[in-house]
């Protein structure tokens, strides 16, 4: 009886460990951006960021920033700040508010994907 309990306990432990590991790796997978998925989601971005030397029209006029080769982590941070209202730009706030965390990760992965080629020396 005592042996059986011990076996059950170790089995329970290993099952629990496996579940914890699976959950952990699952969340890593969900968080990782997919550049191919990002490319399909970027129609809202390309109208401004995809046109060379495009300028904002409102509320101030300046060149829309280049995103090709930018770090994914920074793009995600910028989108989250727009969504939260910590960074103010009317169009970006509206667009970022419509994006899920996964959308942001995918878009960031897309814009960052060929950083090695585009980054200078």
């Amino acid at each position: 009886m005592r042996n059986l309990n011990k076996t059950n306990l170790s089995r329970l432990l290993s099952v629990t460990m496996a579940a914890v590991l699976a959950a952990a790796s699952g969340s890593v997978l969900a968080g990782a951006g997919d550049p191919a998925a990002g490319k399909k989601k970027n129609s809202m971005c390309a109208g401004c960021h995809g046109i060379a030397d495009y300028r904002t029209a409102f509320p101030e006029v300046y060149s829309v920033p280049k995103l090709g080769g930018q770090h994914a982590a920074y793009i995600i941070k910028a989108l989250q700040e727009y969504k939260a209202g910590d960074r103010s730009h009317p169009s970006m706030r509206a667009i970022a508010s419509s994006l899920s965390d996964q959308d942001m990760a995918d878009l960031a992965a897309y814009y960052a994907s060929d950083a090695a080629k585009s980054a200078g020396k």
């Binding site: 280049k66 920074y74 200078g120 020396k121």
Partner: protein, 106 residues
């Protein structure tokens, strides 16, 4: 006479506009502090810090001006930008915008 007055006004406007005064050579000297986070020539090696190399001049001016005024909030960038004059901002933006790095991606 009218033409002369217009010419003087125009010359004053051109001389007064910051964009024409931006000096990327001076900017390189002023941007030494930036390299600690934004990397050599603005090609940051740390994912949390944005690449600046090749970014548009006027976007960089706006970002720094907004950090300086507090319109854009960031605990690292606010104190950095507060110490910069509009001339410094123009020079630094000119320097980073002339480096090779970021590009427009469709």
């Amino acid at each position: 006479m009218r033409k002369i007055i217009l010419g003087v006004v125009y010359a004053a406007l051109v001389a007064g506009s910051g964009a024409h005064a931006a000096d990327s050579v001076a900017g390189k000297q002023k941007a030494k502090t930036c390299a600690a986070c934004h990397g050599p020539e603005g090609n940051s090696l740390t994912p949390d810090f944005p690449r600046l190399a090749g970014q548009h001049y006027d976007y960089l001016v706006k970002a720094l001006t907004d950090y300086k005024s507090g319109a854009r909030k960031n605990p690292i960038m606010e104190p950095q930008a507060k110490n910069l004059s509009q001339r410094d901002i123009a020079d630094i933006a000119a320097y980073f915008s002339e480096q090779k790095g970021l590009r427009t991606k469709y």
